[in-house]
């Protein structure tokens, strides 16, 4: 692991060491090894496709592996801000790692573009901006869809971890605000569990109109199958962390008819022409699949694509105020991102403001349905 990491670092350092001082330096920490490498490697793939220069400035990229480990992520962040004096820090795509890096990065007065929906304490995200959608904006779409479907009560079956907890809270507050269905039963499970029979029985007994399963990746299929096996006949909703092919690979015919909320990046072909992200998402998919083969698209590579859109937009603004490589430039960059206004990404539409560093608007999410083992977009979600 260490060997491959240092080789990688060396490769990047060698390739880019000839850069002049005024270049834009970007420090990126990603999980390229360890259990979360599925979140890091696709991003690395897209970063390899990044342009040589952004807004007329040469782009110098320092990519380090954090081995899915928060301690390593903080070490990387410290190196970026002290040794490399980067203009922008990016990462990590693991939530806990992104949170761990935030303090070090903020202390140095550097912008951090997070690749994970990391919740920070109030006031702590002055320098941090998230590129993935937050749970609240996704919950908004789920609730609107449920209202259209006539769902009157919702059961919750989610992870015992932070992802499950934030979804539960965001869903409750959004539903109260929008007049959506209330949550009538809450059950929990953990990723390594081998069975959800108990939880499924209790939910089937409570018999809500719909059940929201909050789990990620291949972990989302087991609870879904458990509900079907216990004879649940209502609608089942899945969150955007479950919007991967693994859901169908493991769930098979049991996940047919499931509703999965997602960003627009994965299904540009099916987006209605009115969706603002259609063109951008299509461009991302074309570029990525040209390099890595048909069907290789994924949400994480999309964040790497979006990062460049943001940089293209803010660097000219910041450059007008200060020279790259200076603290003034970094501060100007932060202000520029905060005030960049409506920006269309492949993952949706972003508008940051002083009090909102989550940014995505309710135009963003799309509702997908699993039909014949493939995604099909739900027209009513728009």
């Amino acid at each position: 692991m260490t060997l491959s990491k240092s080789l990688l670092t060396a490769a990047f350092a060698l390739g880019l060491s000839g850069a002049a001082l005024a270049d834009i330096t970007v420090g990126i920490s990603l999980p390229l090894t360890g259990p979360a490498n599925g979140l890091g490697i696709p991003m690395q793939n897209y970063i390899k496709l990044w342009p040589e220069s952004v807004a007329g400035e040469k782009l110098k990229v320092i990519l380090l592996d954090d081995a899915s480990d928060p301690t390593r992520a903080v070490q990387n962040a410290r190196k970026f801000v002290t040794e490399d004096k980067v203009d922008v820090v990016m990462g990590s795509s693991v939530t806990v790692n992104a949170v761990a890096m935030a303090e070090t990065v903020a202390e140095s007065g550097t912008v951090q573009l997070m690749f994970s929906p990391a919740a920070l304490q109030a006031g702590k995200d002055h320098w941090a901006f998230r590129l993935p959608q937050g749970n609240a904006v996704m919950a908004h779409a789920v609730i609107e869809h449920m209202k259209k479907q006539g769902v009157k009560s919702v059961g919750f079956l989610g992870y015992t971890d932070a992802y499950g907890e934030t979804w539960l809270n965001d869903f409750k507050s959004q539903s109260a605000a929008l007049g959506g269905p209330p949550i009538t039963a809450v059950e929990r499970f953990a990723r390594p569990d081998t069975s959800v029979t108990g939880q499924a029985l209790k939910l089937v007994q409570a018999n809500p109109d719909a059940i929201l399963v909050v789990a990620s990746g291949s972990g989302a299929a087991m609870p879904h199958k458990g509900l079907i096996e216990r004879g649940y006949k209502g609608k089942i909703y899945q969150t955007h962390a479950a919007a991967t092919r693994d859901l169908m690979r493991i769930g098979g015919k049991d996940v047919e008819g499931a509703f999965v909320v997602s960003g627009p990046a994965l299904v540009p072909e099916q987006l209605p022409d009115a969706h603002p992200s259609k063109k951008v998402a299509q461009d991302f998919v074309n570029k990525y699949e040209k390099a890595y083969g048909a069907g290789s698209r994924n949400q994480f590579a999309g964040h790497a694509y979006d990062a460049i859109i943001v940089l293209e937009k803010v660097i000219p603004v910041a450059k007008a105020k200060a020279k790259p490589g200076t603290p003034e430039f970094r501060a100007a960059l932060r202000d520029a991102i905060e005030n960049m206004g409506r920006t269309v990404l492949c993952h949706g539409v972003l508008t940051y403001s002083k009090d909102n560093h989550w940014g995505f608007t309710t135009e963003t999410p799309v509702m997908l349905k699993v039909v014949n083992g493939d995604w099909k977009i739900e027209p009513s979600a728009m």
Binding site: P192, T194, S195, G198, A221, M222, I250
Partner: protein, 355 residues
């Protein structure tokens, strides 16, 4: 909670408990014979389930392993560990001035792994029928047991229980890391062996759970026969009762250790094949499953096989009811039950210095 739900929960609990029972028996066996508290028992479960998944579905797309053909990584792990073990053994015997014996030993260690590698490379096991793939999985994972014993424990056979436990933690991390390398971070679910469903009033019994009950029961009976009726089984029992005495009677502790690790790895791999179709298995899933088997083994004081089996069913049922009534605290409840059991055991059976 009405009786129907209680019945469904009990059935589910017994199904999981049957798997925990196999792992608990393996844990008790290993501790009795070698004094090793074998934490990585669960890793064999994951290796079993995922090796079979690789044979069924191929290596995960984009994984390092996929570039080197479509054989499961565990096969290469087996070949490599066998090579290292053979090398160590042969060097030692060679130094003792017995080159002939050194060759013979090395060839014995390498025979099965080499045969498996040759077979797999030549015959493309992904196209085999399911039963043959199941047997191949067992044939790949089971020999890893004695090799792990050879590499990690054999030289330390006389060390204290604590040292052996620390080695176990190391072996656990090594095997989990290898699992991630071979199988990737995503989960796999194997196709069911038997798709039938039987209705017993409100209960539904799946073919899969019948297979689980049947195999667990059969294995327990076989184990009993092995220990009661065969010379090797009796030798293992003798080693468990008194290592020095057994040695004086001509029973080699190293052979006993290898044999018990072979059995433990076999039971682990079999458990993995049994649960593979009813749940999603990750590279690290085995740890928690193995830990529950360990809790059941502690119920039995790491000494009694029947008590371990009963304890395992108890753990399964407690887990199932806990997931119904307080799902957020399920693991807390399961692992807390170990406290009163430990208290009861230490009151009933006051502490004495080991050996």
């Amino acid at each position: 909670m009405d009786p129907t739900i209680a019945a469904i929960l009990t059935l589910d609990g017994v199904g999981n408990g049957a798997i925990y029972a196999l792992l608990a028996l393996a844990t008790v066996l290993l501790f009795a014979v070698t004094r090793v508290i074998f934490i990585p028992q669960g890793e064999f479960v994951a290796f079993g389930a995922l090796t079979f998944a690789m044979l069924q579905q191929g290596n995960p797309v984009g994984s390092l392993w996929q570039r080197y053909g479509d054989l499961p990584g565990t096969l290469w792990l087996l070949a490599l560990t066998a090579l290292i073990a053979a090398g160590i053994d042969a060097t030692r015997t060679w130094r003792l001035g017995q080159p002939r014996r050194a060759w013979r030993e090395a060839l014995t260690t390498l025979a099965l792994p080499t045969a498996l590698v040759v077979l797999c490379v030549l015959s493309h096991p992904r196209s085999w029928p399911m039963l043959a793939q199941l047997l191949l999985t067992l044939a790949i994972v089971t020999p890893l047991g004695p090799l792990v014993y050879r590499l990690a424990y054999q030289r330390l056979a006389d060390a204290s229980v604590l040292v052996l436990l620390i080695v176990s933690v190391g072996v656990h991390f090594a095997l989990t890391g290898l699992g991630l390398l071979f199988f990737g971070a995503e989960a796999f679910r194997n196709p069911p062996f038997w798709d039938a469903r039987f209705s017993l009033g409100p209960l539904t019994l799946t073919g899969q759970s019948i297979i689980i009950f049947g195999s667990s029961a059969a294995l327990i009976v076989l184990l009993w026969l092995f220990f009661e009726r065969t010379l090797r089984g009796k030798a293992l029992r003798a080693t468990a009762v008194n290592r020095t005495g057994a040695r004086l009677m001509g029973i080699s502790p190293a052979t006993a250790g290898r044999l018990s690790f072979t059995m433990a790895a076999f039971m682990g791999a079999l458990s993995g094949l049994l649960i593979g179709p009813s749940t999603s298995v990750y590279y690290d899933s085995g740890f928690l499953i193995g830990l529950k088997g360990f809790v059941a083994a502690v119920f039995a004081g790491l000494a009694s096989y029947p008590l371990a089996a009963v304890g395992a069913l108890g753990v399964g049922i407690i887990e199932s009811f806990a997931s119904f009534s307080a799902s957020a605290f399920k693991e807390v409840i399961v692992f807390t039950t170990i406290l009163p059991v430990l208290l009861w055991r230490s009151l009933r059976d006051p502490h004495r210095e080991e050996e």
